[in-house]
C-alpha cells in the first residue's frame, strides 16, 4: 500500500522516545495540528 496526496494518512501507533522517555505516539495525537512525519534509514546517520 502507498500513500497519495489528498487521501487520509495511514494510522499508526508506535513506541517512541520523547524527550528521553519511552512513550507511545499515534497519528491521532496530532488531530487539530499539522504534522511533519518523516522517515530516515538508520540511527547514527543523517536525516
Amino acid at each position: 500500500m502507498s500513500v497519495r496526496v489528498g487521501e487520509k494518512a495511514p494510522e499508526f501507533t508506535l513506541d517512541a522516545v520523547v524527550k528521553g522517555d519511552f512513550k507511545s505516539v499515534s497519528l491521532k495525537d496530532y488531530r487539530g495540528k499539522w504534522l511533519v512525519l518523516f522517515f530516515y534509514p538508520l540511527d547514527f546517520t543523517f536525516v
Binding site: M1, S2, V3, R4, V5, G6, E7, K8, A9, P10, F12, L14, D15, A16, V17, V18, K19, G20, F22, K23, V25, L27, Y30, R31, G32, K33, W34, L35, V36, L37, F38, F39, Y40, P41, L42, D43, F44, F46, V47
Partner: protein, 136 residues
C-alpha cells in the same frame, strides 16, 4: 523547532530501528554523530509496517528511504517528498510548504511556483488580475 510550533505543526521522525537504538542516538553528543538535545519524538517502526504502509520501505535493505509527509489538521496528506538514501532534506522547503498550505486553508488562495510567505498568492476567482500584475 519553534518555527514549526509557530505554525501549529508537530514533527516526528521514524526509522525501523528499535526504541533502544533511538535512545542511544539521542544520548550521543552531536560531535560524535549523535543528536543529543533533539526535541522531537523518534518513533520505532521495528516491524517496518508503518514504513511499508507509507510506501517508503526499501525491501532490499529493510530500511526506510527519506520520505516526508505533510499531514493536515484533518489527517489528510497534503505533500509528499521522497529522497533516495544519500541525500538529506531542506527544512526551509518544508516550512514554505506549510506556509503555502496554511495560506490556502485560511484564505482560499492558491500559491504558484516559487511562492513564499509575504508574496502575493492567486485568488482563483481573480486569477487574470494576478497574471496581469506578475507575469513577465
Amino acid at each position: 523547532m519553534s518555527e514549526f510550533e509557530q505554525r501549529n505543526a508537530g514533527v516526528v521522525a521514524v526509522s525501523t530501528d528499535s526504541k533502544f537504538s533511538h535512545k542511544a542516538w539521542l544520548e550521543t553528543p552531536r560531535k560524535k554523530g549523535g543528536i543529543e538535545g533533539c526535541k522531537y519524538p523518534l518513533l520505532a517502526d521495528f516491524t517496518k509496517k508503518v514504513s511499508a504502509d507509507y510506501g517508503v520501505l526499501q525491501e532490499t535493505s529493510g530500511v526506510a528511504v527519506r520520505g516526508l509527509f505533510l499531514i493536515n489538521t484533518d489527517g489528510v496528506v497534503e505533500a509528499i517528498l521522497v529522497n533516495n538514501l544519500p541525500i538529506g532534506r531542506n527544512v526551509d522547503e518544508v516550512l514554505r510548504l506549510l506556509d503555502a498550505f496554511q495560506e490556502h486553508q485560511k484564505n482560499g488562495v492558491v500559491c504558484p511556483i516559487g511562492w513564499a510567505k509575504g508574496k502575493e498568492a492567486i485568488n482563483p476567482a481573480q486569477a487574470a488580475a494576478w497574471f496581469e500584475k506578475h507575469a513577465k
